[in-house]
Subunit: 298 residues, 2 copies
């Protein structure tokens, strides 16, 4: 298995990686091209550039001076914090970036072109699969404070989505409570899934004295659905519930959340009588945890 991955790595660094650099760096040094690209048409703070590209501050500064010298970029103090500076593309920079864009298209085409049409489709399909799975492997799951900005972001998005999808909208105040204190040890906990440090999903537990653990706030960003993030969050949450002595997990959900319901069913949840009076819920589920067994899967 490892050998097969290596064969893939080898071919792909040769055919995609090396060529990619070559295509990009045809009239601009690679470093400059990468910076130009990353600035984007909307501009970008220097510090953001630095962290995204992983460059030394002195080096980046020099690259920006070179790009300024070539008339492709202008760097000005940022409005809010005048220590921070923001890079923007000039008209020439936009043009140059479009050229890089074009080259990137050329490279993509050059990979497809030699193939007969039927095989092109298969290639693109297989690439999509590889991309999905590699992306999925980059997702990390962290325990966070409910007040953590990433958790806040997820919950905000979660509520916004409920409001869009529920036929009568969603008002958090009308729903059963799960405030910060309830989702923080010792009364509960919260997990956030991140992709390249950006939050893309969350889930929480509310421990109950002498009652099943409640599962709350399960959400995955629409841009990353289908990568198995929901299942990973669920598995981790169940493991945490078991670790905290829980035997049974309870959750309620709305009929419009089809993907979630499918996930719960396929993960072994069974529909039960309503165990609370959550006004937005149509279905109530429960799962009996198998002691200790839930740790393995990731």
């Amino acid at each position: 298995m490892v050998a097969k991955v290596r064969r893939f790595n080898r071919l792909v660094t040769e055919r995609v990686g090396a060529l990619n650099d070559h295509y990009l760096a045809r009239d601009l040094p690679l470093g400059q091209a990468r910076v130009l690209w990353e600035i984007g048409n909307d501009g970008c703070d220097v510090r953001t550039l630095r962290s995204r590209l992983g460059l030394d501050s002195g080096y980046l500064s020099r690259l920006l001076r070179e790009l300024e010298g070539a008339g492709l970029v202008s760097v000005e103090p940022s409005g809010r914090d005048r220590r921070v500076r923001t890079a923007h593309l000039t008209a020439g920079g936009v043009k140059e970036r479009a050229l890089l864009d074009h080259r990137s298209d050329d490279l993509a085409r050059s990979l497809l072109e030699p193939l007969p049409v039927a095989q092109r489709d298969r290639l693109v399909e297989a690439m999509r699969e590889v991309e999905r799975l590699l992306t999925s492997a980059m997702v990390e799951i962290h325990r966070v404070e409910p007040a953590d900005p990433r958790a806040r972001f997820c919950v905000r998005e979660y509520f916004a989505e409920l409001d869009r999808r529920f036929s009568k909208g969603f008002d958090p105040g009308a729903s059963i409570s799960a405030d910060d204190d309830e989702l923080r040890p010792p009364r509960g906990l919260m997990l956030v899934a991140t992709l390249r440090d950006e939050p893309v999903g969350c889930g929480a537990l509310k421990f109950q004295r002498d009652a099943p653990t409640e599962l709350k706030r399960m959400w995955v960003a629409s841009s990353t659905r289908g990568l198995g993030i929901g299942r990973r969050l669920l598995t981790e949450l169940e493991a945490e519930a078991a670790r905290h002595g829980g035997r049974v997990v309870h959750l309620e959900t709305n009929g419009s959340l089809k993907e979630a319901i499918e996930l719960y069913l396929s993960a072994g949840y069974e529909e039960v009588e309503a165990f609370n009076d959550e006004p937005y819920a149509h279905h109530w589920f429960e799962k009996r945890l198998r002691r200790g067994a839930s740790r393995v899967a990731r």
Copy 2:
């Protein structure tokens, strides 16, 4: 479609390409590491290194001096031609290369590890598909002289394979002739398929006065079967036959060559009465060419 390929390219250069270089070049500069790797445990001529890695002769020479200085490599005149020099790994070089090998394994594992087992299988499968198709896209088809060393190589391999597969072995002398003159314009022609300049398949035509064009010497190296090379060769040969005024292509084949027979059938060949007395043949096929239409597919 191009956009999807670009997404793939982007992720893969980030996750595989960049990491790969990083893993390789952790205690040796990338250039040296690549040379060390390419020399391999059996040693390698300097000229071969140069062409495989695409390096300038001065640059390669310098890299070799550095590796010699580090005690990893020794370079000595080759036995046969004393202009050529051959690089070998020293004991230390072998060790260093094993380390690179190990790192490469680590990288492969690090891609798989975060995934649940079922998804690992899917990833490896999709990688295999991408690899196969990208490789297939790298195959080139050339018209060559029958005396071209690549053609000679293919025919030699072809005969050797026939000898292995036919129940009673294969003696070229006993078979119907197709010597150099017959496979060279104006009497015929020969195609060779190459992958990174290595021959991996061949096929030839023998034009006949007032009779169907004969297809001969269809062979694909076992290491590259399943990439559609056979089909491409066949399509090109048919196009050439049509271009030389052929209306019908004839071929005969042995019952043990199952893949070939399948290829012919799926390409529209039909089995006909024996049209010659080739002693090794069990099946005779013929295809009527559609004028002009056969150029498009690659």
